[in-house]
Each structure stands twice: as structure tokens, then as C-alpha cells.
Amino acid sequence: MKIRVSTAVLILCVAAAAQAAPFRQTMTTEQKFSITPGGTFVLENPHGNIDIVGSNVTQIEATLTTLVTAKSEAALAEGRRGSNLIIGGDAKTRIVRTVIARKTNDWSVAVQWNVRVPRNVHVHVVSTSSERIRINDILGSVKVKNFRGNVMIGDVSGSTVVESVNGSIVYATPHPGGNVLLSTVNGNVTATVAGDADFRWVAETGRGDIRTSMQQGLRGAFFGPRFQGTVNAPGGPTITTSTLMGDVHLLAAGASAAKTQSLRQLPLTESPSSRAAQRTNTSGPAVLRRGTVKGLFTYETKMGDVRVQEIQGDARIFTGAGVVQIGAVSGACNVRSHGGPLELGEISGVLTASTRAGDILVDSTRRGGTIATQGGTIRLLYTSGPTTLTSGGGDIIVSQAAASVKAETTSGDVVIGVDRDSKSEKIDAQTKKGNILLHVGPKFGADIDATIVTTDARADTIASELPGLSIRREHVAGKTVVRATGKINGGGQKVVLHATGGDIRISTRALAPTVVKPR
């Protein structure tokens, strides 16, 4: 019985697979294009693999294999009609272009090129997606631009430029005759040269590592995340290898890849500015996750997210780029980021949090601290210690302050809710473009000094639900300065509010709760 059921299922699966199987058609053609010695061959092929080899020929000899995949017979016919070959330029610059009509979901076309070119030509390839682009044995220069797919360059004597986005680059030429630039965003870069080759080497990676097996003849230093140096004798061409998310490898031909060493671990000559950078240049995981950490927690990464549930002690965290998310810190908390949002929970000690770009959300800081972003919104739900908040652009919202607050933003609103039980707190709020809203309890006492600078005195106003303020207006350089001073509820701590191009409101209503997206 079991066998019969299994057979039925198998038959059904095969039938379903047959039904879903796309219609395919492969067509192969051969083409020849004239080109002068030292000419340039330009190939634009949006989809499909490309193999170009230099050989003893006098013209370009190409074999094109067109693969049309479609959902139906009709779509297959449409796909066949949808791809064309356009030959342009002249014998000095031969331009060959595969043109694919606007693709639909019903069919797709990929054209695979196998090309033999005279060795002394220059090759220029533009591609969007492929599994690979391979170019070998060229005496002239090579230029490749692609979006997806690996690029392999071998034995190219002339200058080489490869720009990719989502592919890896492999370059192998014993003695490069010209400058080499290999750059990608989401891939690795590997360059293999002869062990005795002389050249300048520039290498950079954001998230990955830079490794080499040519450490013997290597001299150089890090300048920030970028390494610059020479291999063997000074002079020679420059090989630039850069990727943002992948690794960079420089290998000596014939040497084992296992013998490579990270440049971070080599005793290199350092530039003074690079020392600090190198200390933090440890390549950590893309995301560091921890549950509860007991004692001091120190972590530095040049690129990566940090997510820790709880730190029972002090925390010192730095990321060059990434999200920092900490549930709770029982001690002092120092979080720095060169870019990325910060999301911090209950901070019992003094908090120092800064990012060069991104929003900051803090649940509470018991002993106050300093919170700064060069651009982004700051939300602090509760503070019971003196707190300074600075934003280079964006709103600052302090929902409940039971201590003094100093808030300053280049542009954006400043909203501060003083603890309803507080009789008085020192507040200093400034915005260079925006409104200031101060929510206090009905018995809050303060010496108020509120100023707005505006070009529209009718639109921007100062309003207080607590009496005691007297208002003056002055006109200075085409602007109206409205200033309200006085004591509310008999006076108290100094409250200085300064808004440009906005309103100032002092309200006795409770501040609406801040809605925070679930983490």
C-alpha cells in the first residue's frame, strides 16, 4: 500500500514538474568582425556569460549562443524576436551590442559570447548580469563594468579596470604592465601576481579583511581603512583593490592561499592617524549577538551591528557602521558609532551615546548623560540625571525629565516633558528652525526666558498656560524678536527656550506617550 501511494505521489510530482518546465530554445551563430591591430573591441551584452581570449587571429571571431527561456510556446517565439545583434563603429573601434527588448515575466534571453580577438586589441565589456565574464591573454588594456556575476581577468599586460557591484573579481597577471583598478561593492577581490613583481598596492575594505601572502616584500601603512604600500622594489604600476563588503587578497603566484596573513596582524609602518583606526579595525561578525553579559563589556568593530540583551556592568561599544541595540546596562554606558541608529534600554549609570548619522532611542538613563547625533531624531523616554542632547538635524523628544535637560537641534522640534512631580528643573532648549514645547506640571515654578526669532510675527508665537510672563517685541535686521520673561508659580530654576522660525508653548497638559516601534 505504501509503495502504491509513493508511486502515485512520484507520478504527480513528475507531472507537476513537467507542467512547470519552461520552454527553452538554444540558437548558435558565428560572427566575424573586422578590427585593426591596436583597435578597440567594445562588447555590450546585458545578460549572459562572456569569454574573450586573445589569440593569433586578425579579426574578431565570435560564437554566440542565445538561450531563450519562456513560459509558453508563444512567449518563446516572442523571446526569439526580442533579441537582436547590433554591429557598429568601425575597424578601429568595433562596437557590438546585444539588444534585448523590454523583458517580461513570460520570457528571458541570455546570450553567451565566446570570442577570439587579436592579442593586441583593447577590450571593453559592459554587462548587467552573468555568471562569469572571463578575459584572457590580452596585450592591450581591458575595461569591464558589470552589475552581477564574477569577473576573471588573466594575463592582461595593459592597464585593467574592473568595476563590479555584486560580483567578485579575480585578477591574475604575473607582471602587470599598466595600472590595475579592481573594485566591487558586494564581493571579494583577489589579485595574483608573480612573487618578484614590483608595484604599488592600495587596498581597502569596509567589512572584510585584507590578506596577503606577499608579506616579505611588503611595506606600507594604513590611512584610515585604506592600506597604501609597495611590494618589492618601489615603482611599477599601481594595483588598487577595493571592496566594501568583501575581502581583499593579494597572492604571490604559486604560493598557497592558506599562507596568507591579515594586514592587521603584520608589523607595518604605521601613520600616526592610522593607529587609532587600526585598533578598531578588527573584523567582527556582521552582527554580534549576546544575551546577558556579566561584568565589563568592551567591543569594537569597524563595521557591524551589536545586539546585547543585558550588560551587568559597564559597557564600552564602538562600531564604525551599524546598529547598536542594548537592552539594559547596570553600569556606565559608552556607545559610539560612526553611523547607524542606537537603541538603548534601561541605562543605570551615566550614558554617553553618539552617532554620526541615525536616530537615537533611549528608554531611560538614571544618571543622565550626553546623547548626540549629527543627524537624526533623539527620543529619550525618561531621565533622572542631568542630560545633554544634541542633534545636527532632527527632533529631540524627552518624554519625562526628572532632572535638568539641555537640548539643542540645528533644525527640528524640541519637546520636553518635565516630570509632573517636579517643582522646578533647569531647562535649556534651542532650535535653529522649529518649535519648542515644554510640558510641565501645574505647580512647576521657573524663571522663564523664552525667545523666538521670526520673520512672521503673526504666525510664530509664545504661549504659556501658566501666568506670569511679560512679552516684548523688537525688530532686528528685518526679523521680529519676541521675548517672554517672568516667573511662573513664583519662580524657580532657570528655563531658557530659544526658537527660530517656530512657536514656543508652555503647557500644563501631560505629554502624549511616545509610540515606539517594537524591537
Binding site: 552581477r148 561593492v185 548619522a357 538635524g393 528652525k433 522649529g434 501666568p467
Partner: protein
């Protein structure tokens, strides 16, 4: 406090503009600086406005007479008028007879004098949809200046709109025409569906011209939130936000604009791609650039295909060494999720 009491007493006179200029100025200064009196004055004005809006009811004659008698200003009786005493039954019969005579006479006269039209087969040639006009009012547009013929202005003035800067453009009247020019402040409440053309245009204008429109940020936030809802999202709003992103001098405003664009459905915000790319390429504030990438990533996730030149900008941004590293990472992630 005694000053406040005196002020409150003089408020009715202030309302009716019966105070002399010096006292009027003093009163206004006091109201401006005193929260309690300011509140009182606002209440007075509201009441006054309400009174203005109430319909004027004719006082019944006998109430009026009784009142005047009570205060000793009784109207003199006219000696040659004999009061008519109505007789109810006769009155009803007379009224019924009058109605019968009027209706019968009208039918007879109309039937004899009417043109005779031969019946034809009626046919509707075309139908023009009637333009929706709220409450029978001709649509008006918000305008910086407006020139009106007096005939187009109702003689009725509702409430007490503040009229300022009055100038007599042509007041000699020799040609039988005069012209007055003035600024008037009046409160408008416009209601309609969020996707009504008028509501969209009005909201776009407010989002786009924050300085001119003097819209409080809470109101703008509410508008942005409402139009972030996929049910109400509209390309017109997206374009208004894109213009803010391109041109507003304040990074906080640009951040708000791009943040809203991030949450709009990709189909709606597709037209704003140029603005996002431009912001990513050259906005001086890293947070704006970061949010521009997030908005682009959102579009890509929803299946948008970027042009090769736009991909190039992203690629250059990812490899730009002096760019904020987190912006670069976000760009790389966006590129990684992209279908060529």
C-alpha cells in the same frame, strides 16, 4: 489685580470700539501680557462673534408695546383706527373661496394662452457629469491676491473678520465706481476626502511651503502620517515631499520629508526617485542621505528597477571613501537586493 478688574470692565467698550485710542492701546498691551485677561478677552470676542452670527428676530408687537409701556415710552395711539375683531368661521370660508377662485382662474388663463407643442420622440444626446459643488457655492481658489466685482461679494459680512492695510485704490466715485483694497484674515475649514483633488492640492501646498503656509509642525506631522497610509497615499503628496527634500534649507524638515517618502508605497513614490537619488548624492546631512537610501531600498524591495545611471550613483556612493560608513553599508545592501 485691580488693574485686571478695570480691564475686564472696559472689555465691552473695547469690543464696540468705544474706548479712546490711549485707553485702547493700554488695554491691548495689558491683555497681551496678562494670561488671565487674555483668556477673558478671547471669551468676550467669541461671545461677540456668536452674537453677530445669531439671526435677528423681530420682537412681537405686543411684547414690544408692553416693554415700551413699562419703560414709559408708550407708542402714541392713533385715533382714527378701529380695531378689527375677527370672526373665525367666516374667516375660514372666505379663505377657501379665495383659493378656489385663484386656482381655477389660473388654470383657465394658462390653458387658453399656452403654446401647443407636438409630441416628439425624446433622446439623450450626451451626458455631462455635473461638477460637484459643495453647498451650492461656486468653487473658490486660495489666492495671494484677488480682484472682485462688488456684485460677486455678498453684502453680508459674517463674524468680525480682521481687515487690515485698507487702501482706497479709487475713491473719488466720479465714474460711479470705487475700489477698496485690503488684507483680510479669516479662518477656513475645508473638509473632504483625503484624495479629493482640492484636499490633495491644499495638503501638498502646506507640506511644500512650510514657511509661507506657517503650518505648525504637529499639523504637518498629522498630514504626513495620514498620507503615509497606503489607502491615502498619492503621487501629488509624494511630489510635494520630493520638492521639500530638494529645496528646503533645514535638515530637520528634509529628514521629515524623506522619512515620509520611505513609508509611502513604492508605486506612489516612484516619481520621487530623482529627488532621492539627488539627496543621496549631495545632501549635506548624513541622516537625510541615510533615509534617502532607505527609501530607495524600500522601492527596490517592492520591485522597482533603477536606471543604469541611478545604479551608478549608488555604486559610486558605496565606494566613496569620505561617505559615512553606515550610509555606504546601506547602499551596498540596497545594491545587493537589486535585480538587474
Amino acid at each position: 489685580m485691580s488693574e485686571c478688574s478695570a480691564m475686564r470692565e472696559s472689555m465691552p467698550l473695547l469690543l464696540t470700539e468705544a474706548l479712546d485710542p490711549v485707553r485702547r492701546e493700554t488695554a491691548h498691551q495689558h491683555i497681551e501680557s496678562c494670561v488671565v485677561c487674555s483668556e477673558e478677552w478671547r471669551a468676550h470676542k467669541e461671545t461677540w462673534t456668536l452674537l453677530e452670527e445669531l439671526p435677528e428676530v423681530e420682537v412681537p408687537a405686543r411684547v414690544k408695546t408692553a416693554f415700551l409701556e413699562k419703560v414709559g415710552v408708550a407708542e402714541p395711539a392713533v385715533s382714527n383706527v378701529i380695531p378689527f375683531r375677527g370672526r373665525p368661521v367666516f374667516k375660514w370660508v372666505a379663505q377657501a373661496a379665495a383659493v378656489v377662485v385663484l386656482v381655477g382662474g389660473a388654470y383657465f388663463a394658462g390653458d387658453r394662452n399656452a403654446d401647443r407643442i407636438q409630441p416628439t420622440g425624446a433622446r439623450i444626446e450626451s451626458v455631462t457629469p455635473m461638477q460637484r459643488v459643495a453647498s451650492g457655492i461656486t468653487p473658490v481658489s486660495l489666492a495671494e491676491t484677488r480682484v472682485l466685482d462688488a456684485a460677486a461679494l455678498s453684502p453680508e459680512i459674517q463674524g468680525r473678520p480682521a481687515v487690515r492695510n485698507v487702501t482706497c485704490v479709487d475713491c473719488d466715485g466720479s465714474d460711479g465706481q470705487i475700489a477698496l483694497s485690503f488684507d483680510v484674515t479669516s479662518r477656513w475649514t475645508v473638509s473632504g476626502h483625503p484624495k479629493d483633488e482640492s484636499m490633495l492640492r491644499l495638503s501638498s501646498y502646506m507640506l511644500e511651503n512650510e514657511d509661507v503656509a506657517s503650518t505648525p509642525s504637529e499639523a504637518l506631522d498629522s498630514l504626513r502620517r495620514m498620507y503615509s497610509d497606503p489607502a491615502h497615499a498619492d503621487p501629488q503628496i509624494a511630489n510635494a515631499l520630493a520638492n521639500v527634500l530638494r529645496s528646503d534649507a533645514h535638515e530637520g524638515v528634509r529628514i521629515d520629508a524623506v522619512e515620509t517618502l520611505t513609508h509611502l508605497p513604492a508605486a506612489v513614490s516612484a516619481q520621487t526617485r530623482d529627488a532621492l537619488i539627488e539627496a543621496l548624492r549631495s545632501d549635506p546631512n548624513p541622516a537625510v542621505r541615510l533615509k534617502a537610501v532607505e527609501a530607495l531600498a524600500n522601492m527596490v524591495r517592492d520591485g522597482a528597477v533603477l536606471e543604469p545611471t541611478e545604479v551608478d550613483v549608488l555604486r559610486q556612493k558605496a565606494l566613496q571613501q569620505d561617505e559615512n560608513p553606515y550610509v555606504r553599508v546601506k547602499v551596498a545592501e540596497t545594491l545587493g537586493n537589486m535585480q538587474p
